[in-house]
Symmetry: C2
């Protein structure tokens, strides 16, 4: 071959080789390249929402509610196995599922010696006996597993005394009776549900010498005044006259004997006799049928207008019965309460889907399993939704179609009705790793109260993800509106940032989110479908905690067709996927700025002058709120900038950790030493009417009227510093991470 | 061109193109590829160690110690500026540096009315006055800024009484005096340093009716018995006869008025009159020259042998002076203490190097800046090392040669001598972000006590990184040994895992690491060079907290040539780089297994029988330790596996978070409610002699002798559950992250 030709060929070959090298280098993605960051997949999201099936939710509910499943009962244990098997299913289960069992202190009536409410004369001769249980109106109220109405954790005892009517049993109610000269010492107080917590009624009563408490549900508060059998279940969704709300009368939450410790068999337990938080005197709930007989025969002056109800008579205050009524004047009411405290095993069921990219970040979704009776609404409507969501996600998982970016933990909690026990023990057992790794907690307890609209409660950062989900799902019914647009019609507020938006509620301690938000500082939320408040003033769905909360009740009156159940399942499913799959966590921390600003404004408006008088200056609080606002806005801006670039995984993880851990920065275990578990300085219980930082508001209430320089005013100053420190710490968490 | 030839050429070209594509694709790294994970660079490490310069440390020390720099004094403030300017230097500074100032409660003697120790008769006529300050032996002891010897936070007062000798002022010492029938009521107690904390001497004394306390340093405890001027500084490293150890007599740490809150000007403050932790009675430290005069003239029975010292006389117990001695019999000792509590500004200086890859992970390295007088050893020997390390790293940084993987925070703490105040306020202010992000805290306070060997204290996970560093650095002196091999000759133990290894100490509350480990649960360590304990029994270097701790003292007697300073700088520098730059964090969490196993063994051996008698079973503790061991071993195995693959950044971050957060899992803010700041269930103060879990050991000590079923025995059970819960939580943190 000619040399020049060889050179020419070689040059040509070199050029081609070079072209190849260039093509190879730039045009073909490397197999070893990191895959595109796994982000929320809209197609998967659509698939999931489409597959969530109302009829399957209905089937779940029928199974879950077919028998009473009181915490630790054999049926409750059977449902543990039922859920475990679902989550271990080969075709639609999760990666793993386990049960976790605690030995906890529960309280039950004595089957051999039922609780009684009677009328007796001074020789203790029984003149009359009231109903010990609900009427069997659908054939389901008489089974051996229908627990008699009782006030869980109320102490046993047989107090008797003249009856007084004490309205809702608040501190103010008893003061009012005292002010009106009604003798309280040695009486039995009849109170109605609402206004004060269950246990608080007995606590307040005992302070005034009352020896026993009856609690009933007034038709005015639950049935929009209706009280006839023909107007109530099974003829409507109303509470029947014999219906009785059961409930826990324990003041705190978690296993009463093992505060701050998981209730393992070997754990240290308090002496039940020295445990605080139980009602100090016997208490017993009754139906409004019995309450009517008692209340409409009372003597004494008329109760104030706001104390009147819908029992069809003028409510009097007592003490004792009138001489011209249907009950013997001079007779006393006698309570025989035989409740027993028992150590019982109660289980959580936990199911896990392992995250593909960030397995050490947990999105937690839970509901309790235990009910008082059949619990079709409470909690099985939520569990039916939970099981449908795990079925759909589990099926995608088992098919290999999908695995979330982060891990998802599903939980079926035990013994919630006794005081959020299963969930609280879980947070105690896994305190460290949950604090380190939990992104958010989603609770769906009662999924459907009624058919009108979504109702969401949560801390500010979850508002955005709930809104995003609600905007893309159709509301049940013919409106054609999204869940979001329907919601805004029923419940809205004007946000200084967003204008008119649906109104989110805040989180108290009404369900299993409480230990997550208050004890662990994990951003939490609770979702449900609920009433049109313009159409009913019921304080909750009427058969709540009664033997009438059955499958038939749901199917006939709460959600025929289960379309609201499906709407909640879709909303919860969408929120769950967004939290578990989004590259950037969909927690808008800057939404806390609005809350802080409104808390600050309320403090300035309602406490400012009073504080000024005691030389307590809100200046540092103003500065702290401003620092927070600035840091939050800058972080959101930083995220926007990152989103438009190609951030690496660690950059996004850094930001996501800031978003996740913000809520933790509001925790201070030393803020409220007297409040068991409550460490979140923004959401601890607020007894003051001023809608501001609870520690500050409560301390001001307590200090009011004490002398300048008192310990109570020092505590106001301390609470102010506690909240300033928390806000400064929260701002520091949000600032660029290499700034101090 | 012939068609076949064209085809042939095309085929050949295609082959070459293909080859090029293959080469381009596989052989050339993509620009867009993520860089190799940034790991510890051995070349950088070598460069840093080589550049750490003994003569520059010497220069730093001369500047830092040239004037007294008591906390909040003008010179202390000047050093704040000095350090700030170093860290802001254009050529050798850090990315940023700031000061952070707190308003804290300090205690000073009154310059107008010096504290006095006198002999008086019953008419208060002064018979004799003792030295109010140290002798001016080098010309540096008489300056206006040499603070008079005093007991910081001891209350003002002018108690007088007969003198008794109370040894070290422990609870046992006073009980011994009582048992021997020595009247204590109304006396002044002379005690020597050691045995009990400073403040504890006054607290114990007050419980027995003692009205004032003197504290001195016995030559037996500090000078190996030597006490003549010719045998002490400036003629040797010994403590001169007039030397007096100052110190804080406050019981806790942090600003006394703002526990758990950063001491910002607007923060809530306790009333100083209601603050706990100050000595209950006046106290004053004196030199052994004065102590000799007092002690060698005491009357009464001889003190026990173990109470005798090296003052050259038989120590008697008193009360009062003997009739045949050099001091008037019947005369009383009168203390005039005029200490004042003052709110003062005290600053930390904070310098930051931003991490290149994980800026949200912090390695913190600090030392305090404030001294009692010149503080050449304490703390300037440490600060001189700190500034040399920042110079070398800052220079590399400014040149663009190096940037660490993680962020490094350097700190010069204020007001440590008064009770770790600057560091504690820092941990309070940045509680949340430090808990979330701090990898480890490295403290180098006194860097060189003496020239013999490295001394390291820390929690188990830091042992491995200190050993790694110590193995690669030569020990000062002619031995040719590594620091590690030299260390093992002086202080070693037999580890069941590693065989013979250097012995690491544990962390008490002696320096600024205390809030990091006890309050925040951050893996911490303290490094220094120290004595050959076979050659001296000095409890600390002799001029500690006296006016004789000067540059001359260091240069002549502590570390001529500064090679031990350099050795500490190299060790600290290497530890710092390893922590900030290693891809996998060099924290060997499985080294905790050895500690837990030994704590468990001690509990079984020394408490087991006693616990059994009270039906307290150690079984759950055994199980928890086993779970921890298993989880730790599995995690180490997992890391080994990852190291041999090509783990992605998030996989490594996940593991590193487990390593970082393990120490946090041992925190329980509710474990020891009466112990301010102490939340780490393994390292809280242990008063019991059994080397086991402190809560368990202390509770057992307190319960001993109480009746079965007592509250004290219930507390033992609670403490057992607290430690079991912590170990179970720690094991859960180490287990695979998607397991529960």
């Amino acid at each position: 071959m000619h040399w020049a030709k060889v050179v020419g060929s070689a040059v040509g070959a070199a050029a081609i080789l070079a072209l190849g090298i260039i093509l190879g280098h730039f045009a073909i993605p490397k197999a070893a390249d990191p895959p595109d960051p796994q982000d929320l997949d809209q197609e998967i999201l659509k698939t999931v929402l489409a597959q969530l099936d109302a009829s399957k939710i209905r089937e779940n509910l029928r199974e879950l509610s077919k028998e009473p499943h009181l915490a630790s009962s054999p049926r409750d244990e059977a449902l543990v196995e039922f859920i475990l098997q679902r989550w271990k299913d080969q075709l639609s289960g999760l990666d793993s599922a386990v049960t976790s069992t605690y030995e906890v202190l529960l309280s039950f009536p004595n089957q051999e010696q039922p609780n009684l409410v009677e009328l007796v004369d001074s020789n203790e001769t029984v003149l009359h006996s009231f109903q010990p249980s609900e009427e069997n109106v659908t054939g389901e109220q008489a089974g051996p597993n229908v627990v008699q109405p009782y006030a869980a954790y109320a102490p046993p005892g047989t107090p008797k005394g003249l009856l007084v009517y004490a309205n809702q049993g608040t501190e103010e109610d008893f003061k009012e009776l005292q002010a009106r000269g009604i003798t309280l010492q040695g009486t039995i107080a009849l109170t109605r549900y609402g206004g004060a917590g269950r246990g608080a009624k007995a606590e307040n009563a005992a302070k005034h010498g009352v020896v026993g408490v009856l609690v009933y549900t007034d038709p005015a508060d639950i049935n929009d005044g209706k009280s006839l059998p023909s107007e109530t279940f099974p003829n409507s969704w109303g509470l029947p006259p014999s219906g009785v709300e059961r409930g826990s009368y324990y003041k705190y939450f978690g296993d009463p004997l093992t505060p701050y410790l998981p209730a393992h068999p070997a754990s240290f337990r308090l002496d039940p006799n020295n445990t605080s938080g139980f009602p100090p005197i016997p208490a017993q709930p009754i139906g409004f049928q019995d309450a009517k007989e008692l209340l409409c025969n009372l003597s004494g002056p008329s109760a104030p207008d706001s104390w009147q109800g819908a029992l069809g008579c003028d409510y009097k205050l007592g003490p004792g019965f009138s001489t011209n009524g249907g009950l013997p004047a001079g007779s006393m009411v006698k309570l025989s309460v035989h409740n027993r405290l028992v150590l019982r095993n109660s289980s959580n069921v936990l199911g896990i889907i392992r995250g593909a990219v960030e397995p050490d970040r947990y999105v937690i979704y839970g509901n309790h399993r235990d009910s008082w009776i059949h619990g079709a609404v409470d909690p099985s409507s939520g569990t039916a939704v939970l099981l449908e969501i795990t079925r759909v996600l589990g099926t995608l998982l088992k098919k290999g179609t999908w695995r979330p970016r982060r891990s998802i933990i599903f939980a079926s909690w035990g013994a919630e009705e006794f005081g959020l026990i299963g969930s609280t023990e879980f947070t105690e057992e896994f305190f460290s790793k949950l604090q380190e790794r939990a992104v958010a907690y989603l609770n769906v307890d009662i999924s459907v109260f009624a058919n009108a609209t979504l109702r969401a409660q949560g801390t500010p950062p979850v508002q955005s993800v709930i809104f995003s989900a609600a905007k893309e799902i159709g509301a049940p019914g013919p409106s054609g509106l999204s869940i979001y647009d329907n919601w805004i019609r029923y419940s809205n507020r004007s946000s200084p940032v967003y204008g008119l938006i649906p109104s989110m509620g805040t989180l108290g301690a009404g369900s299993d989110y409480a230990p997550f938000i208050h004890f662990l500082g994990i951003s939490s939320m609770d979702l449900a479908y609920t009433y049109d408040k313009s159409k009913t003033s019921a304080r909750i769905y009427p058969t709540y905690h009664t033997a009438f909360d059955t499958f038939e009740y749901v199917e006939k009156f709460v959600d025929p067709g289960f379309s609201s159940h499906q709407a909640v399942a879709r909303t919860a499913g969408s929120v769950l996927l967004r939290l578990s799959d989004s590259f950037f966590l969909p927690l808008n921390v800057s939404d806390y700025s609005e809350t802080l600003r409104s808390f600050l404004q309320a403090a300035q408006d309602h406490l400012g002058a009073q504080l000024q008088q005691h030389n307590i200056n809100l200046g540092p609080l103003v500065t702290a709120v401003e620092k927070f606002e600035k840091a939050a806005a800058a972080l959101i801006q930083h995220i926007t900038t990152l989103q438009s670039s190609s951030p690496d995984s660690l950059q996004v993880r850094t930001v996501n950790d800031q978003l996740m851990l913000l809520e933790r920065a509001f925790l201070n275990p030393r803020a409220f030493p007297e409040e068991q578990y409550y460490s979140h300085v923004l959401w601890a219980p607020r007894t003051s009417s001023v809608a501001t930082f609870p520690g500050l508001a409560n301390a001001c209430s307590r200090a009011e009227g004490t002398s300048p320089g008192s310990e109570a005013w020092a505590e106001v100053q301390r609470q102010l510093s506690v909240v300033v420190m928390a806000l400064e710490g929260a701002a520091a968490t949000l600032r660029p991470v290499a700034d101090l």
